[in-house]
Symmetry: C2
Subunit: 246 residues, 2 copies
């Protein structure tokens, strides 16, 4: 059904809302699994799965023989959130900032050996090469270099790319973006970087390299997002060995 999401997601949503609202005191235990089973009329696996999601969110932590402890802290969540894939546009809208994107270059190339090594595309793959500048509140802060598989989006145009690329791929082409491998590094600023982005004193860029896979397991996008270092910020919640549960 459409309206009725999966049961574990329903339970997850309820518990999440309770934690956020302060219904469960911070630092204290949530009701035990057995209690939740009787409340939600479900199996133990289902409540455990819901709790596993809360653990991934950094909302609670579990300890064998003890219970599920509420560790929610309403810290500011800006820029990025990990664990989900979010486009620049989505991020900007969520944080209430004004973003624009313009295409500086749009070319077609074949992946040579060097590019293949860098990106992971096979040698000879036809690619779109796309340079975009992202402005935040009128200031250019991100220089985006993307390589996109032509065979996955034959009719891509600069006009489309200046809109949200992801919206086009998902809504127009029905492409499902499943996995994304991200790497964060710091690299010396290049002349190309300085051409558009005013770095001031800085001589480095924060670089987020993104490899996106579609549902066939084909990497269709390789993007280097080169951020102004003063703007860049990346957040996540890490968990020590949790291994949800099955």
């Amino acid at each position: 059904m459409v309206l009725a999401a999966q049961k574990f997601l329903q339970i997850y949503s309820v518990l999440k809302a309770r934690v956020e609202s302060g219904e469960y005191p911070v630092g204290q235990l949530l009701p035990s699994e057995n209690t939740l089973i009787t409340e939600f009329h479900c199996s133990r696996n289902t409540v455990r799965r819901a709790i596993g999601e809360l653990v991934r969110d950094g909302y609670v932590q579990t300890r064998q023989g003890w219970g599920v402890c509420n560790i929610f802290h309403p810290i500011e969540q800006t820029s990025y959130t990990m664990g989900t894939i979010e486009s620049f546009r989505e991020t900007a809208r969520r944080t209430g900032q004004k973003s624009t994107t313009r295409v500086e270059s749009f070319t077609r190339i074949l992946a040579d050996q060097a590019l293949a090594n860098q990106t992971g595309f096979p040698v000879g793959t036809p690619l779109f090469c796309l340079w975009r500048i992202h402005d935040l509140n009128g200031r250019p802060i991100i220089f985006n270099i993307s390589y996109l598989r032509e065979d996955c989006m034959p009719h891509l145009t600069p006009e489309i790319a200046s809109e949200s690329l992801y919206r086009y791929l998902e809504e127009e082409l029905g492409m499902v973006i499943v996995t994304s491998k991200r790497t964060i590094t710091v690299e010396p600023a290049t002349d190309l970087d300085r051409r558009w982005i005013d770095l001031g004193q800085y001589n480095c860029m924060a670089v987020v390299t993104n490899q996106a896979y579609n549902s066939q397991g084909v990497m269709f996008e390789y993007t280097q997002s080169r951020h102004h270092p003063a703007i860049f910020r990346f957040q996540d919640n890490a968990v020590r060995r949790p291994v949800q549960d099955l």
Copy 2:
């Protein structure tokens, strides 16, 4: 048992090794769950959990009605892996590199307003302030500034801190480190940074700010790890919606 790890971890290790070795061709499907069940003589949930871990690692991708697709790319996987908390020492050992740690400063202070704003500790909290330098293969690459709640580890000494801090907290004090909230930024290098770390041309540091919580939900550690930008590398795998499995 000590020798026999959990079954799903064994299966996970075997599958992971096969993917890394190329035994399963990239871009193709792994054996179906039923096949793996008969091979490993276990229940379906157990193989599914092992596969779920591979998904989190960005090794494979699953699709209902289709199968488990190998999307492993042997692009170097070094430094950090997201989703798990790993100490400098653990990371170095895993990547087969030689690491040493030395304590440059060890003091006791009370959190004033400025420090409270920066770290999140309440004003007036007694803290250990710890400066450590991490060498990798003989080169200093990380400058570590830690603030630690005294009441959580009253008997901390510089000698202990030069060993693995986490090992001490976990094994000696029985403290369970579960959740950690991390932020990555890029900051201008300070004189303090340059005192120990040879930055060459760079004038920035990659800064990982880490807030660790114990099992009571108390933040007991605030650490700024200031990395040499050329060494720094941070990886993670994001998944769009799938929510592994229980």
